[in-house]
Amino acid sequence: MNRLLDRIKNLDERSQSTAFFGVIVAGLVAALALGLSEARDRPAVEFGEERVRRDGLVATVQVNARNRTDEVVCPEVRIAARDREGLDLEEVVARPQEGGPRIGPGSSQSYVGVFHNLSEDDYRERLDEFSAYVFDVEPCP
């Protein structure tokens, strides 16, 4: 350990500065470029606000999915009941409310998920939100 420390100490100041600021500049440029690129890369399907109806321990969640692409997509939509830590209490596959799974370019489709396995404690203490997401985009039949 001491030998390693001595080596670090003996690196001249200029080499250290060059290496360090190289990392800083590269890191900043990469973070900015990657961040902007990722931010511009919008998801193919966007979801609206989840609407929840609870009947006893059964919760029915309805969500609107909108196709933002120029193609017809057939997504597999899932809805998760999550706690405050972002962990799943239950996850269900959502079904299209009307018709099939096809969503035309710029069109919307309503999906419904029913939760049967949430306990009273889950509802009272743990449940934070219902969240819909695209599990997979299937080739349309």
């Binding site: 350990m1 001491n2 420390l5 670090i8 100490k9 250290q16 500065s17 360090f20 600021f21 990392v23 800083i24 890191g27 900043l28 990469a30 973070a31 900015l32 990657l34 961040g35 990722e38 931010a39 890369d41 998801p43 998760a80 999550r82 405050r84 830590e85 972002g86 962990l87 799943d88 009272r124 203490e125 743990r126 449940l127 934070d128 969240s131 997401y133 599990f135």
Partner: protein, 809 residues
Amino acid sequence: MGSAGQSLDEEPTRSPADERPGAPATAVLDGRAGSLGHSVLAPSLTPRPAFQVTRRLVGVSKYPLGLLTAIYAINQSHQFLLPVLFPFIKQEFRLSDTALGLLGGSYLLMLTVGTVPFGILADRVRRTKVIAWGTSAWGVAMIYAGLAGSYVHLFVARTLLGVADPADNPTSQSLLADYYPVNQRARVMGIYEGGRLLGILALPIAGGMAEAWGWRATFFFFAMPGFVVAAMAWRLHEPERGIQDRRHQNLDGGIEESGYLRMSSWRAYAQVLRIPTFSVQLVSSGLANLFLGGVGVWAVTFMIRYHDVSVSGASVAIGLFAVGALVGSLSAGYVADFLTFRGLRASRVYVAAGGRIMATLLFIPAFVTGNLAMMLVLFTVGAAVLVAPAPALNAVRADVLHPHLRGRGNALDAVTQSLAAAVSPIVFGVLSDMVTLRSAFLVMTPVVGLAGLVLLLLGPPLYARDERRVLRAVSGDDDVDETVQTVSAPRETAAARAAAPDARSGGDGAGEDLLVLRDVDCSYGPLQVLFDVSLVVPRGRCVAILGPNGAGKTTLLKVVSGHVDPRAGSVVFDGRDIGGVPPDQRARLGITLMGGGRSTFPSLSVYENLWLGAFPYATDAARLVDERVDAVLDVFSALRPRLRQAAGTLSGGEQQMIALGRALVAGSELLLIDELSMGLAPIVTEELAQVVPDILDLGTTILVVEQSVPVALDIADEVYGMEKGSLRRLGTARSLRRKGGDRLARSLMTGEEEPSRRRRPPRSGGAGRTGRSSGSGRRRRRPLQAPASPRSGSRRGRKRSGGRGAGGS
């Protein structure tokens, strides 16, 4: 110069005799033309622009503290970031909850493992670079996390974050201990600890970003400030290790070498654990975190379960607790430092212990009550006092650890806290399953109290010993027997002396106290110079301190002027504790130090020297300054023809006149004179002493230290004797003169023979050398305000009649 008698453009006239430095002062002083009755010189008429008094050393910038706090906040942000991003990550990689939990575990593991080597680095290499590299590595790890194509990559990225994180905390604390004065450590640490709580701001920001741009972009954007602050940290000045500990003892420089640098890194770790105060605080912190970690996780569930609060409502309450914790962190440091200023040496330990005990007392009813509002209030206040120990204990660690061990000590503390906080939720969960959650809270709460009790019972005596040991070590006095304590007068006696009525105003009760010193200790390195010095200087009076060379008189003046920091005790000026206030600000408050010897700027002209007296108040009031300089020249008219002459070429008496004149231009509330008579012929001293009553008449208070007993008895109202750093009141000058004057005073001092030049035949009746200074008639008190008429001073008339032909004009 405006109204000055001679324009600066005119060539000053000078007789050949005057060309000689040290020319006969009588010739100079006989030229006195005016009086000090000028109202323009009165302190009450001196403009004192309002300003914020800060307790800092000159040259100490807040920038390093701000930057290191920001780095801490940024480094901590990913702790709050990840739970927000979990759902998005889970969706993309289709992870199980166990896999997500492992991400948290990998971080904790690496945090624990990584902290140990970084503690060594913090003690061995340049710390600013450790922080800079660590923070940039954090940025790289964040980018890597954003680029992760699989769970494995994400796992590695999270592990790297766990390595980069400990580069910051132990190292920053070590740096802060060397950036900021020892007396300000707790409050500095309080602000720094606030960074951890500021990291919580990442929560809403990350949530919004992830919703709008996705989890990867969130990682990328969060990495950017990391790189920026890393670059700034690289440029930070690296303070010498131990520099503040040495400055605390009025020693320069830092510590280059110590035995800790030569021993193996692991042995040094063992050495840290052998420091009793450190071990006690480590146990206390471990116990406290055994509660804190669980409360952090289970508090929301508790509120939902027992107070029927919604999840979102409970989350808002958690935010409230965080605000309480932030307030507690900031204020605890201030309280601890304030008490230290007041002379309570182990106040940092007491604040930490008190916080933990008080938190217990607040939390127990908070967990018992069924009233939500009461629970929220108790819990918020409890959170505030629960985090209060953190900054105080950070400061304690810095106080009791050698500067070459601080990185390792902080690392050990961080590891202990992390592990205890990690185990804590599990303990709460098990107890909750066994009984109830409320019972778990009630069972675990006393653990915090126990942590406080351990600190309270064991901490203070150990701290006093360990702190002294470090101070001696950094001052290069390692060999001093640790059991030897500084010999000092009993505190009660000294304090009582300061508070005793006869110590005030000569017993006549006139006026309020302008300056109060209580139990002041001061050292230069291992050498303690002042011992429990307590002193009261009433407003408008002249107090003289007599003592031989090396008694500590000058040090006492420097403590008042702020040039030397006391190790303990308080200095109260005009009702305000000015401990830690730098000298320039004390000058602006009205304290002027007239240094011993020829206290002028020799290369500057006489006018420039006088003008400098206006530094505390005037940058744009040239007319006012000139008016005051002119008033001074009316008194010291011998200076008027020499205005453009370099001060260093004047005689000793003339230079003292310049120094006195500068103090008058400053309009001092309190004038500190270090040996008016030093290096001057008695006749010159006598003439200068004649001005003192006039200065008092203006409303200025004077604290003068002298070796010459006659001079002290002549100019002072009260006389103190100082011997070997201890101060005792000898009596009023009048009573001392009555009892035998200087002979008596001298006998009360060291018994040392006065230098022959000061030995003069006793004057009849103990009278001064002028009629004006004889007996009780010497002083005729006036209101503190300057006289309305510049030349109506009664003393002046007596001086003229009894003086040595000072008639002049």
